[in-house]
Symmetry: C2
Subunit: 282 residues, 2 copies
Amino acid sequence: MEIIKAKHSGFCFGVKRAIDMVNKLLKEKDGPIYTIGPIIHNGEVVTLLQDKGVIPVDDIRSIKKGTVVYRTHGILKEEEEYLKSKRLRVVDATCPLVKKVRQEAVKLRKNGYKVVIVGDKNHQEVKSILSYIENDGIVIDDPQEVKGKKIGVVSQTTQSRELLKKVVDRLLEGPQEVRIVNTICEAVELRLREALKMAEIADAMIVVGGKESSNTKKLYKAIKEVRARSYHIEHECELNPSWFKGIHVVGLTGGTSTPDFLIDRIFYGIKSLCGGKDGGDS
Amino acid sequence: MEIIKAKHSGFCFGVKRAIDMVNKLLKEKDGPIYTIGPIIHNGEVVTLLQDKGVIPVDDIRSIKKGTVVYRTHGILKEEEEYLKSKRLRVVDATCPLVKKVRQEAVKLRKNGYKVVIVGDKNHQEVKSILSYIENDGIVIDDPQEVKGKKIGVVSQTTQSRELLKKVVDRLLEGPQEVRIVNTICEAVELRLREALKMAEIADAMIVVGGKESSNTKKLYKAIKEVRARSYHIEHECELNPSWFKGIHVVGLTGGTSTPDFLIDRIFYGIKSLCGGKDGGDS
């Protein structure tokens, strides 16, 4: 059995940046380090950082001293204001692309646009954007009519371009001005395109990443449509030997918050299960 | 044989406004009245106005005195400047919707957008828009890649919404911000929708309007796709008895620059040819 590992896997630029910032702080050894919620949507990495002393908290009011690191998905405006008021030291590890979405949404609203966010209303990134526009926007995840003279559209960075296009197509049915600030992350798309090509030649696909990770979930969903024998796992212990029976080629990829070392562990996990040979990078 | 006449036919708001302005000027009897090119794309109406003394000219430099009426499709910026420099009296009969497209294009350019005009580069409306943005824009009539960080899209008023959507869909492939000022004329669309419904129940369709009229040509093209037995005519003398052989229902519609009286004349023309009964308004 051959195992093909995606060239575009491992941390994306924004995740790598955030983890580097935390590691730098850890080296300083200057008091406790907190994150509000998980810094990235990968349990394995969050646990590793916890072992080093990085504490994810749900309630920022529990933080009395130390440094607070903003997660890659962004912080709520009210949280930021609270931290400022308490004069706590903050380190902003928000993905710069996510921050751009927020800034563009704020600008659109300021210029009189009704803000439409194409995204998942339960995702932290979307919650963060909404909080910065005083919740004066709507979140949609399917094409629909939107009232208003001027509609400003931004997209959660990990949304699919196809959905954005469908939403815009529907908005153009109306008489209004539509302004789209294209905030889709190209790294996510590149990864998806490569994985879809792999899925066409592989007999089975393994997608590695947090179950909460928006881009991993979308990656898995898209791959599953091409290759029914696809599995989304977080950890090598989830590997099941039955998945690889009669299989010649396995494709291996992961979300933008999946570290290389985890991909590698799963690579060797599959190998030891099945005696697979190394197909190298795709 | 039954003849169904479209409810939405006759002059649109912009054309009616322009003709009213010219008629008011004619009543004033205050020197010669000129238009630069035809005031509207309907030869019958232009001839009627010519009989009353309204002179369409190609070269504005030939105008020495009198009043110059801007055509519904808009004037070139350099023409407007010339007329101002000569202190000639001008009356602006540009369709307000066409003027809006021009203003929006100017605004987009000023705000750093690369201006894309979805339209026909040979149409006067598009030439007018381009002249007001110092020819710093591109005209496209099919989906294509456009370079630039910020793309501002306007549409010739008589363009199809479907084409606009396809163009935007293609632009959203790129990484840039896309701002669409939806400048499609709803009156044109309403007319089209009604005509398409008629074409489904009629055995033959007659579309009345100038052969240069952008909206009439598009109306005819769309109808022809639904009802192969469709004819675009300018005048009742073009009616051919063979078109109505074995036909039970004829649909009759016209472009936005086609006067009611012409539609009526063609209605009675068909009737006298075939002894058709009046089906009334659709």
